[in-house]
C-alpha cells in the first residue's frame, strides 16, 4: 500500500514536471524586477494586447539581490528583460556582461545626463533622489533650525536628532554614504561620519525600521526628527496621509545632500526573443507608461516631456544639483567604503 502511494506520488510529480515546458511554449515574455516594482493595471496589459504576448513578472528581491541572481544565471537567463538595476550596481552588471545592447528610439526624450552607459546596454527608466527628510512640527516645537547642509547634522544643535540606514543592508543607506563621499571627497567623508557618531547618529538596518520605527514625522512612530529617505517621501505622506488634499506635508525633504539614483532596464543576453524584449523597453519608455511612474513607484520618469502629478509638483522635491558618483568609482570602492564605515560608525 505504501509502495503504490509512492508510485502515485512520483507519477504525479513527473506529470507536473512534464507539464511545465508545454506551458512555457506559449508566447510569454518574462520581466525580472526588484520587489518595489509596480505599475497600475493596464500599463502592461496594453503591451500584451498589442503584441499578443503574456508578460510574466518575476520579482527577485531587492535591487542588489536581483542583479546578483541575473549574474548567477547568465548562462540560462531567468527572464528576457531586467528592470531596476541602479547606478550603484550598474558597473557590476555591466562587468558581468549580462545585457544585449539596445538603443530605444524613445531615448531621444531622455536627458543625456541619465544615459550613463555609452555602449547602450542599459536604458534609463526613472530616477529618484535619496534626501534628508525632516519632521516640520517636531523641529518647530523644539525651536531647532532645519539642516541646511550636511555639516549642520554634525553641529551640537542637532545632536541626537538624525537616523540613517546601515549602508551594508540598505539601499538608501548606501546612497547617503555615497552622498557624503561625493560631498566631502574620498579623504573627508570618514572624519564627517566620526563627527556624526560623536553627535549621536542612530543607525537602522533598513528604510522601514528607520522611517516607521525611529523617525517622528508623518507615519513615523519614533522620536528622531531627521531621517534619510527620498525626495518624494513628503508627497507620499500627503497622498497616503489622513488628508490627501493637505496644503502642507507634515515632512519636508532637504535640498542639500541628496544623492541621485537612476534605474535602468536592459535586455538579458540569451533571450530567444530580443525584438519583443526591445519592444517592451520601448513600451516602458513610452509617454503613457512613464506618466504612471511617479504615483506607482514614487520616482521621476526618465523622459523629460511627461507631466508630473499635482502632489509631486506641490510636495516633492527635485534637487537642482544632486550629488552623484561615477558608477565605476562606486563599484571599485563600494565594499571598502562600507567596511570602513562600519568601523567608524558601528564598532
Amino acid at each position: 500500500m505504501v509502495r503504490s502511494r509512492i508510485a502515485a506520488g512520483l507519477g504525479a510529480g513527473l506529470l507536473a514536471a512534464s507539464a511545465l515546458p508545454v506551458a512555457a511554449e506559449e508566447a510569454t515574455l518574462t520581466l525580472m524586477t526588484h520587489d518595489s516594482f509596480f505599475l497600475p493595471e493596464g500599463a502592461i496589459e496594453t503591451f500584451e494586447a498589442d503584441h499578443g504576448v503574456d508578460v510574466q513578472l518575476l520579482q527577485a528581491g531587492d535591487a542588489g539581490s536581483m542583479v546578483n541572481q541575473a549574474i548567477l544565471t547568465a548562462d540560462r537567463p531567468l527572464a528576457d528583460v531586467l528592470f531596476g538595476v541602479d547606478n550603484t550596481f550598474l558597473s557590476r552588471a555591466l562587468a558581468a556582461d549580462i545585457f544585449e545592447p539596445y538603443v530605444s528610439p524613445a531615448l531621444a526624450a531622455v536627458p543625456a545626463e541619465l544615459q550613463l552607459d555609452p555602449a547602450g546596454r542599459v536604458t534609463p527608466m526613472d530616477y529618484g533622489d535619496v534626501c534628508l527628510n525632516v519632521d516640520r512640527a517636531a523641529l518647530e516645537a523644539e525651536g531647532l533650525p532645519w539642516p541646511e547642509s550636511l555639516e549642520d547634522l554634525a553641529a551640537p544643535a542637532l545632536a541626537d536628532r538624525l537616523v540613517v540606514q546601515n549602508p551594508a543592508t540598505s539601499s538608501p543607506g548606501l546612497a547617503f554614504l555615497l552622498a557624503t563621499v561625493a560631498y566631502f571627497g574620498e579623504d573627508g567623508w570618514a572624519d564627517y561620519w566620526a563627527a556624526l557618531r560623536e553627535n549621536g547618529v542612530t543607525v537602522s538596518s533598513g528604510w522601514e525600521e528607520a522611517y516607521y520605527g525611529q523617525f517622528s514625522g508623518g507615519a513615523g512612530e519614533g522620536e528622531r526628527p531627521i531621517v534619510v529617505s527620498y525626495a518624494s517621501s513628503p508627497a507620499a505622506e500627503v497622498l497616503y496621509g489622513p488628508d490627501p488634499g493637505a496644503e502642507v506635508s507634515p515632512t519636508a525633504a532637504i535640498e542639500s545632500g541628496c544623492f541621485r539614483q537612476v534605474e535602468f532596464a536592459g535586455i538579458l543576453k540569451g533571450t530567444p526573443q530580443p525584438e519583443l524584449a526591445g519592444a517592451l523597453i520601448d513600451h516602458l519608455l513610452s509617454p503613457e507608461v512613464q506618466a504612471e511612474f511617479p504615483l506607482a513607484m514614487f520616482v521621476y520618469p526618465a523622459r523629460s516631456d511627461v507631466a508630473l502629478p499635482d502632489a509631486f509638483v506641490q510636495h516633492a522635491l527635485v534637487p537642482a544639483s544632486p550629488l552623484s558618483l561615477d558608477p565605476d568609482v562606486i563599484d571599485a570602492n563600494r565594499e571598502a567604503w562600507i567596511s570602513e564605515w562600519i568601523d567608524i560608525v558601528l564598532r
Binding site: L20, Q56, S65
Partner: protein
C-alpha cells in the same frame, strides 16, 4: 526473545528512506553543492587557501562566537520558560486550553517583519510599558529601551520558539504515564526529586530534540537579528546573506557556509545519538488520562503564574498587532480589513491582498502533503532502526534548518536550470522549499513517539495471534497517525509563515501572505501599514484555525490506551 527486535526490517527501512533521500538530494544537497562549488572552485580548480584564510580571519571568529552565544542563551532561556509551560499544558486542564495550545503556534509562523514591528512598538521608545510605569510609579520610573539591543533579539527568539518546547516536549509529556510519578510521591520523594529521577529520564529525548530545533532556529536567525539588533550585531547567517546576496563574494560565502553547515551537522549527529541512546520504551497513555484540573491552592497558584508568564510573552505582542490593524486615522475601525478585498493601486500588489491568502493556503496544502508523506517515511526509518544510517538520515533531514536560506535559494537558481527540472521560476518550487523546511517538524514530531512505543504491546498482539502487519496496524498505526497529524499541523503552519526561503526564490507573480505583508510594509503610507497588520492578523487566525482543526482530528478516533 530479543527485546530490541525492530518492528521494521532493514530492507523496508531502506525502501522507506529512499524517497526522502531523493527529495533531499535533489532539492537540497545538489543545489547547495552547486553554489558551494561556484565559490570553492571559481576557475574549476579547488581553492582551499581562501577557505582557510576566511576561517582564520579575526572578524569571522567574532561572528562565530557571537552567533553561538546568542543561540545558546536564547535556547537556554526558551527551555527555562518553555518547560514549565509544557508541564502545565501536558498535565493540567484549564479553560480554553485547546485554543491556547493552538495559539502558541501562531508566533512561531509569523514573519519576522511583522514580529519585528510588534516588538519595536513594545520595546521601543513609545513602549506602552513605559507609559504604564510612569503612570503608576511617577516620572522617576526607569524607562525601558530595548530596541537595537541583544536583549531584544533574545526576547524575540524566546517568543518565537516557546511553541517548539511547549508542543514537542509537552506532546511527549502528556503521554507519559503519571502513575510512576504518583508512586514516587507516595513513597516520599520530593516533587523535584520525582521530576529528576522519574520524569526527566523519560522526557530527556524529547527535550534534546526540541532544544536542538530551537538552537538551529536561533543559530540561523536572520530577520530578527537584522530588525531588532543593533547593526553591530552580525551573526553568521547575516554575514552569509551579505556575502551572497549583496556582495556576490561566493568564495567567502562558501567558506562561511561550510563552517555553518559543518558545525550544525556535527551538532545534529551528536543530538541524534543522544536521543537514540536516551530513548526509553514506555507505556504511553492518552493525553486526556494524564491531565487533570489543578488541585491544591499552591498548585493552582503555580499553574496560574506559569500561564500568566506564557500569556504575557506570547500573546501581548500578538495583541499589539491586532490593535494596530484596527487603528486608523479616525480612531478604531475595520477599514484595513476592508482594504484586503480591494485591488487598491496604492497597495502595489499585483492583485488584492486576499489572493495571497488563497495562494498561501494552496502552497501550504501542497507543502504539507509533500512534507507529511516524506516525513512519515523518514520518521519510520529513523525511529524503528538504530545505527549510523538512521542517525545520518535524521541529521540530514534537520540540516536545511541549519543552512542559510539565501544559499539554498541561490543554489536553486544555479542548479535547477535544465529541463525537465528547470523549476527556477516554477510555482512548484515554493511548496518544495516549504516542504524542505517543514520536513524536520514532521520527523521530530513522530520519531520520539515511534521510539517509545513498547515492543511488548506488539509482542502481546502476536501472542494473541495477530500477524506482524496486523499487530503493527493495531498497536503502532493509531499512535503514529496522531503523531503525524501533529507534525502535519506544524508543517502547514511553517509553510503559511515561511518567509526567508520564499523571498530568495525568484517567482512569478504569485505571492504568499508573508511576502505580501513584506511588500506592503515596504510601501509608504499609514494605510498600507494598517493593511499589512490586518493581513498579519488574518495569517494569525488562519494558523490558529488550521492547528485547531488538526488537533480536533487528532482528538477523535480510537483510543488505544
Amino acid at each position: 526473545m530479543d527485546r530490541h527486535r525492530p518492528a521494521l526490517t532493514r530492507g523496508w527501512a531502506l525502501a522507506l528512506a529512499v524517497p526522502p533521500l531523493v527529495f533531499l538530494g535533489l532539492f537540497f544537497l545538489w543545489p547547495v553543492a552547486n553554489i558551494l562549488a561556484l565559490g570553492l572552485a571559481p576557475e574549476g580548480e579547488l581553492e582551499l587557501a581562501h577557505v582557510l584564510h576566511t576561517w582564520t580571519e579575526p572578524f569571522v571568529l567574532d561572528i562565530v562566537l557571537f552567533t553561538l552565544a546568542l543561540a545558546g542563551v536564547s535556547t537556554l532561556l526558551t527551555l527555562l520558560l518553555g518547560l514549565p509551560a509544557a508541564w502545565v499544558f501536558a498535565r493540567f486542564e484549564f479553560p480554553f486550553k485547546r485554543a491556547a495550545r493552538a495559539l502558541t503556534v501562531v508566533p512561531f509562523v509569523l514573519p519576522t517583519v511583522v514580529v519585528g514591528s510588534a516588538f519595536l512598538a513594545l520595546l521601543g521608545p513609545r513602549s506602552p510599558l513605559n507609559a504604564l510605569g510612569t503612570a503608576v510609579f511617577g516620572e522617576a520610573f526607569p524607562q525601558v529601551r530595548l530596541d537595537g539591543s541583544v536583549e531584544a533579539i533574545v526576547i524575540a527568539h524566546v517568543f518565537y520558539n516557546l511553541a517548539v518546547i511547549i508542543r514537542l516536549v509537552g506532546g511527549m509529556w502528556a503521554h507519559i504515564d503519571p502513575r510512576a510519578e504518583e508512586a514516587a510521591r507516595l513513597l516520599g520523594a520530593s516533587a523535584w526529586r520525582t521530576f529528576r529521577e522519574v520524569t526527566w529520564p523519560l522526557l530527556r529525548p524529547a527535550v534534546i530534540s526540541a532544544a536542538s530545533i530551537v538552537f538551529l532556529f536561533t543559530v540561523t536567525s536572520f530577520g530578527v537579528v537584522l530588525l531588532l539588533g543593533s547593526p553591530r550585531d552580525t551573526t553568521l547567517e547575516v554575514e552569509i546573506y551579505r556575502q551572497t546576496a549583496i556582495l556576490l563574494d561566493l568564495p567567502t560565502a562558501a567558506a562561511l557556509t561550510l563552517l555553518q553547515m559543518g558545525g550544525v551537522f556535527i551538532l545534529l549527529l551528536g543530538s541524534a545519538r543522544a536521543q537514540e541512546g536516551l530513548a526509553v520504551q514506555q507505556r504511553l497513555r492518552g493525553a486526556s488520562e494524564t491531565s487533570r484540573r489543578p488541585r491544591r491552592g499552591r498548585e493552582c497558584a503555580l499553574v496560574m503564574i506559569i500561564l500568566a508568564v506564557t500569556v504575557v510573552l506570547m500573546f501581548v505582542p500578538l495583541a499589539v498587532l491586532v490593535e494596530r490593524s484596527l487603528a486608523g486615522p479616525d480612531g478604531y475601525g475595520l477599514a484595513a480589513y476592508a482594504s484586503l478585498l480591494e485591488a487598491d493601486p496604492r497597495t502595489r500588489l499585483t492583485a488584492t491582498p486576499w489572493t495571497s491568502v488563497v495562494d498561501s493556503l494552496a502552497f501550504a496544502a501542497a507543502a504539507t502533503l509533500i512534507a507529511g508523506t516524506l516525513g512519515l517515511m523518514a520518521a519510520l526509518a529513523v525511529g524503528y532502526r538504530r545505527g549510523w544510517l538512521a542517525r545520518g538520515l535524521d541529521a540530514l533531514i534537520m540540516l536545511p534548518l541549519g543552512t542559510s536560506a539565501v544559499i539554498v535559494g541561490f543554489g536553486f537558481l544555479v542548479s535547477l536550470d535544465t529541463p525537465p527540472l528547470d523549476l527556477r521560476t516554477s510555482m512548484l518550487l515554493i511548496p518544495i522549499a516549504h516542504a524542505l523546511i517543514a520536513l524536520p517538524f514532521v520527523v521530530r514530531s513522530v520519531v520520539p513517539v515511534v521510539r517509545s512505543i513498547d515492543d511488548r504491546l506488539r509482542e502481546a498482539a502476536a501472542v494473541l495471534g495477530a500477524s506482524p502487519g496486523r499487530a503493527w496496524r493495531e498497536v503502532d498505526a493509531p499512535i503514529l497517525a496522531r503523531a503525524a497529524l501533529v507534525g502535519a499541523g506544524f508543517a502547514f503552519a511553517v509553510s503559511l509563515g515561511e518567509f526567508g526561503a520564499t523571498l530568495f526564490i525568484a517567482r512569478p507573480d504569485t505571492v504568499t501572505i508573508p511576502v505580501a505583508i513584506y511588500r506592503l510594509l515596504g510601501q509608504p503610507g499609514a494605510a498600507n501599514f494598517a493593511t499589512a497588520m490586518a493581513l498579519a492578523v488574518v495569517l494569525m487566525v488562519l494558523t490558529a484555525l488550521a492547528v485547531l482543526l488538526i488537533e480536533r482530528l487528532r482528538g477523535r478516533g480510537p483510543q488505544p490506551f
